[in-house]
Every structure is written in C-alpha cells, then in structure tokens.
C-alpha cells in the first residue's frame, strides 16, 4: 500500500524554559520534545504511544502549532503543495488550520460551557467565515447525526451531556470545517471503557467516510492496537521505534517497546513481565547517549557514549537502539529473527 505523505515532521524540538528570580533568569530547559522526525501518510492512523509525561501531547500540540516549537520543521501537503507550517504568518496559518484539527482529551473542559452545542460546533466555521447562518446550522445538525447524537441537541448547553456525548460533540466540532488531518490527543482516556469502544468505532467509521488522517495519541496500548495502522513509541521526548502495527507488536526491536508490550495484560496467559527499574530521567538533564540507558536492562558502555542512530530494521520498521539486531528480547514470544 503506497500512500503519499500528508504531514512530515523533521527534528522537531519543544523546550520549556525554567525561569527563576525576579529577572526571569533562565536556569534550565525541560526538553519535552527532543528532536522528533515522523511522516504521517494520507488516510492512515498513526498511533503515538508512551508513558505519561513523555511529551506525546506536547508533540501533538506543536504539530498544530498551538505552541510555538523551539526548533524543527513541519511540512503539510495541501492540495499537492508542500507547506512549511512553521514559516507561515498568522493569516496563512489560519487557512492551513482549516485542514488540521484536534480532538481533546478532557470532554469536560474542551467545550465552551457558555455556548450552545451548535455554537461550539460551528465555531471553526464562524472564525473562518464559511457559509451563512442557515447552512452552518444545517451542517451542525448533520454532524451531530453523523457522530450519533440527535439533531435536537443543537440548542442545548454542554452541561446537560455525559462525557461520551460531550466527546462526540468535540469530534463534531473538529470535523466541521472538513479537515484532512486530525490530532486526537487521548480522546478516550477520560471515558468509561464501554464508551471508549463506541468512540473508537465512531472515529474509525468517520475516517472511512471522510478520508481522514489521524495522529492518535494514547498511553493505552490496547486502544492504540485497535485503531492504528502504524505505531510510534515515544520515550522522554524521542521516538524510539516506529513500524506497521502487526510488525511492531509481534516483533519489537527496542527494549522499551518490549517492556511496554509486556505490561499489557493478556487473558489466559501467564505474564512474563519486564519491570523497568527506577523512574524516568529528569527531562531537564537528559542522560548522555541513549536516553533509555538508565533503565534499560541490556545497557552497555557504548549506550552511555553514543546516541543510537535511527535505523531501518526491515521495510518500514525503524528503531533507535545500538543492539537491536543482537538482543534477544525475552518478553517476546515467537520471535522470528533472520
């Protein structure tokens, strides 16, 4: 399946300065995203997985330029034209924004409580001057039905809805200006498990109907496994491994992926869990060489000295580890090694 690239991220960095004292002296930087390169293909769902605080959401926001990234490039293919997102001025940025939207994590704070459901949904249309009052209303109603809510809910306020219903409204809002690319930032992690499945199925259905491309951020491997075409694993602001879903899940090359996978409970199987020692390193003083070496059970001297290169393993499968070809990752069964 050969697809065109829709979004290309090159060496993206997002640092947050830590300031101290009355003169705001800069005493350090939190390296939330530390040199991420990714390609997201048209009509695919790229799952981005990693533990809390690894920079997943920051990356998602930086891609949409909701925060100004510190360094790097983002390219967006809009109508066969490659646009460098970070170089746009405010006016051109708005045009591009119409093609990239976001679904937020917390359905309770992502809707404006002071506006009706309809006003929430048509906000992007109003801001971008699309359509008139009647056509916006019709569109909002259509969208509500598309996300599985009743058209009559348009004049209600968000406070009368449940979490799942609110998230559906949030999805309708993201879809209202017909974007190509959507960043879904943990869209189901605030919801009950039964509702999670409904929302995931809804997203899948909408993707088919509207040819959407998703960057799907989650800490839940189960969710990622269910929705993604490809999976990227993130650790401390870096992508450590990326590959096709089945390939990556069955045949991981990075020790961190291995540890993540082993943490997923599987019914009917005795778990062979790999428990990582210690906690994540301080994002202000990242370890030298490989960032994972402080917790990696296989770390050697070389890991502290040299940053591992980003290497292709097979096909579209990449991993950043010095010993990816030689390690016998023990958490993984049925390992087919060439």
């Amino acid at each position: 399946m050969q697809q065109d690239t829709l979004v290309e991220i090159n060496d993206l960095k997002q640092y947050f300065a830590i300031e101290k004292g009355i003169f705001n002296r800069k005493v350090g930087e939190i390296k939330a995203v530390n040199g991420v390169s990714l390609k997201i293909k048209q009509r695919e769902t790229l799952g981005l997985v990693g533990e809390s605080g690894c920079g997943k959401s920051t990356l998602g926001r930086a891609v949409l330029r909701l925060q100004e990234p510190t360094a790097g490039d983002i390219y967006f293919n809009q109508e066969d034209e490659k646009v460098s997102v970070l170089e746009l001025n405010n006016r051109d940025m708005r045009k591009v924004r119409a093609n990239m939207q976001m679904i937020f994590q917390d359905p309770f704070s992502s809707l404006n409580e002071r506006m009706t459901v309809m006003d929430n949904i048509i906000e992007p249309l109003v801001v971008n001057n699309i359509g008139d009052k009647a056509s916006r209303k019709k569109r909002a109603g259509d969208l509500l039905e598309q996300v599985g809510l009743r058209r009559e809910y348009l004049s209600r306020y968000p406070h009368s809805f449940s979490g799942g219903q609110r998230q559906r409204v949030g999805i309708a809002r993201a879809l209202s200006i017909k974007p190509q690319f959507i960043v879904a930032d943990e869209p189901v992690s605030a919801l009950d498990v039964s509702v999670q499945a409904q929302i995931l199925n809804l997203l899948k259905k909408l993707q088919k109907e509207m040819d959407l491309t998703f960057l799907f951020i989650s800490h839940d491997l189960g969710v990622i496994r269910y929705v993604s075409d490809r999976i990227a694993v993130m650790y401390m602001g870096n992508i450590v491994e990326i590959g096709e879903r089945e390939e990556l899940l069955r045949n991981p090359y990075h020790p961190y992926t291995e540890a993540l996978l082993s943490a997923v409970p599987r019914p009917g199987q005795r778990r062979n869990r790999i428990v990582l020692e210690g906690s994540t390193p301080d994002p202000i003083n990242l370890p030298s060489g490989c960032i994972f070496r402080t917790r990696c059970p296989y770390a050697e001297k070389k890991c502290a000295e040299q940053k591992p290169e980003w290497e292709n393993v097979e096909g579209e499968h990449f991993a950043a580890c010095h010993f990816k070809d030689s390690l016998e990752l023990k958490g993984i069964k049925n390992r087919k090694r060439a």
Binding site: R97, P124, R156, Y157, H159
Partner: protein, 390 residues
C-alpha cells in the same frame, strides 16, 4: 365552511394540549436547555438574604430616581421658619376619635425663657390628615414630566411633614436624603463601570500575553495599591476646579474613584485569564483559527463573567463609601448639590449632634445600602459557584 370550523377546533385543541404539556414539562428539561446565566439566576432566586437585599436596593434606587415625586420638598427649598425642626410624629390615635387614619399635628416655635433657645411645641388643636397623592405646586418629574402631585403630605402649609426633621437652613432632611441618593447611589455604578473597563482591559492584556507587558502592568498596579487611598483621592479632587458645575464634579468624582479602584479587578482578571488560557476550550478555539481578541472576549471573559459580576457587586459599596468620604471631607460634591456625604458634613459638629441627632439618619442609609450590596454579592457568589450544594 364546515371544514374550516373543524380546523379551527383542531387548532384550539392543539393549543390547549400545548399549554398542558408545557406545564407538565419536566423541570429537568428546562435545566438542560438553560444557559449558565440562567442556571445562576435560578440559584440566586433561592438565596433569601440576597433576594431581600435586592428588594431593599430596588426600593432605594426607585425612590431616589423618582425623588421629585416621593420627596415632599426639594433639596434646596427652605420651608418657612422651621430651623432644626425635629422629625414629625405621625399619629394614628386621635384624642377625640380614637383610632383613625394617620395624621400629624402642626409645630409652633417658642422661646424657652431659661435657656434662651427656641423649642418646638406641638399644637394639638388641629389634626392634619396625611394624604396620598396630595396636590402640590406644579413641577417636572425627572426634568420633563409635568406633575402637580406629591406622594404624600397634608396639603396644608401650616402642617409640614418632616419625616427626618430639618437642618440649620430649615430644609427637609428626608427630601435631601432621597435626592442625595441620586449622587451617592449612582456614583457606584459609574465608577464600577469605568474601573471594570480599565481593570478588565489591563488585566486581560496582562494575563493573556504575559511577559514584559504583564510585568509592567502588575508593577503599576502594586505602585497604585501601595499609595494610601485617602491622600490619593484628596490629591485628585484638589485638581478638580472649584467652578465646575455639579454634574461636572460628579463625573470627576466618578473618574477619581475608578482610577483608584481598578487595580483589584485587574488582578482578578489577570489571574483568571492566566489559568483559563491553557484550558482545552481555549486551545480548541485557537485550533479553529480564532484570533486572540475573539478568544479573550468570546471564550475567556464569558467563562468567568460570574466572578466579575460578584467582584463588581462587592466593589460598588466601596465606591459609595468613597464618594461619601470625599464629600464628607468637603472634597467631593459641593453645596448646593447634595449627596449623602455632604449631608453628613452637617453632622460633623458635636453640638449639632447632641441637640439634633436626626442629622445622623443619612448614615443609616449608607450602612443599609452597603450591607444590601454585600448580601447580593454573597448570593451571587453562591449562585455562580458550580460546586455549591444548593
């Protein structure tokens, strides 16, 4: 013809059905379609003390707006020779006829041969009935409605009604309080409105953009807050030319109060904006391509407008007290214009206070007004708090 009759009957039937279904409509359904401000209003109405405050204030404002009709006299009118006349007693029980409609006796002044002071003696020979909508000299209500009646009075020049007595120039204090309320009660609104604009603008800029602008504005706020209020007021009002008209002075006072009063509000707005600008709904608006101005005015300010309303309600009494203080010190409204502060100026003299204690009555109006505003602010705060149990 028969058909149209049927259709009319049907329409009426539907109409009745609608009324019934509307009445039966669940309370919960109403809540689901209610906006935030409606929800706040529902809760506010349940707050008894606040409702009481609102009622009292409504009466106060109403009477002082229509003071021309309610007050028996004007604020500058000298009534005969009634200097320092005590409050008129209103009687219900007549010596001859027993219980009857309210009436008053007339006063007469007599010299006390021992103290050489004039004293008022009640002349019980005639009972003057108090009448509603009594005829009076023609006047213009609010400056343009021609009227020939006052709310109450005896209709007889020999029997004046001084509910709160008179002052040293034989002016009716009750009338002066009502007319003074026009300045004192409304200076709060004007001042709060102005300080609301200044405060939310500067606080908004400060909180939303942060950085150097924030630093400058906040230091300015702190500087302004560190200057003692009264000297600052005095300095400002010393700059107001003496020959300005009452209206000009009034607006000058409003400006002075607002210029000093916006700082607290700016801080509140700044803090709220700082916490709200990173909320997901603000981020969603930014992702939709909304401008900073739209995000602030359409998403962030409405999100805490209830806090602002509470803050403003609680700020009004401060303004009223400020005006009273300034006028009391002789720096605010200048006679013959009248406000509660200038009325209290007459009460500065200890001998006046000892002999004619009714000069203190304006204080009660100030206290009641301030208290009622605080009740309302309290009620609003409870109603606006989404976590309150009520």
């Amino acid at each position: 013809m028969a058909e149209s009759k049927d259709s009319i009957l049907k329409k009426i039937g539907n109409y009745i059905k609608n009324i019934f279904s509307k009445n039966k409509k669940d309370k919960y359904e109403r809540l689901e379609y209610a906006s935030q401000s409606q929800l706040i209003w529902y809760r506010f109405k349940k707050h008894k003390l606040a409702a009481f405050g609102l009622t009292v204030l409504a009466i106060l404002y109403f009477t002082s707006i229509f003071a021309g009709f309610v007050a028996p006299y004007t604020h500058v009118e000298r009534i005969g020779d009634y200097k320092y006349a005590p409050p008129t007693e209103i009687h219900m029980i007549s010596e001859e006829n027993g219980l009857r409609t309210p009436f008053v006796y007339s006063y007469s002044k007599e010299l006390d041969p021992e103290t050489f002071q004039y004293e008022y003696v009640i002349d019980k020979s005639t009972e003057y009935s108090l009448k509603l909508f009594v005829e009076s000299e023609p006047y213009k209500l609010l400056g343009f409605i021609p009227m020939e009646h006052k709310l109450f009075g005896t209709g007889d020049k020999d029997a004046p009604v001084f509910l709160f007595g008179t002052d040293n120039l034989s002016r009716d204090i009750f009338s002066r309080i009502l007319i003074g309320g026009r300045v004192s009660l409304f200076v709060g609104f004007g001042g709060v409105f102005l300080s609301f604009i200044i405060g939310s603008l500067l606080g908004g800029i400060s909180g939303y953009f942060g950085g150097v602008i924030d630093e400058i504005i906040m230091r300015a706020v702190e500087l302004l807050m560190s200057i003692p209020k009264i000297p600052l007021w005095i300095a400002f009002s010393a700059a107001v030319p003496r020959d300005w008209t009452a209206v000009q002075t009034y607006f000058a006072i409003t400006m002075i109060l607002a210029l000093v009063g916006w700082t607290g509000l700016a801080r509140v707005v700044r803090g709220k904006l700082m916490s709200l600008k990173n909320e997901q709904f603000a981020m969603a608006a930014r992702a939709a391509g909304a401008s900073d101005f739209r995000i602030i005015t359409k998403h962030l300010l409405p999100a805490f407008i209830s806090y602002l309303v509470v803050h403003l309600t609680l700020a009004i009494p401060g303004m009223i007290l400020g005006e009273t203080t300034l006028s009391f010190l002789g720096l605010g409204i200048q006679p013959p214009a009248v406000s509660w502060g200038t009325l209290l100026q007459d009460a500065q003299d200890l001998t006046v206070l000892a002999d004619y204690p009714w000069h203190l009555i304006p204080t009660a109006f100030v206290i009641v007004t301030v208290l009622m505003f605080n009740f309302i602010g309290d009620g609003l705060r409870d109603a606006a708090d989404p976590y309150s149990s009520k």
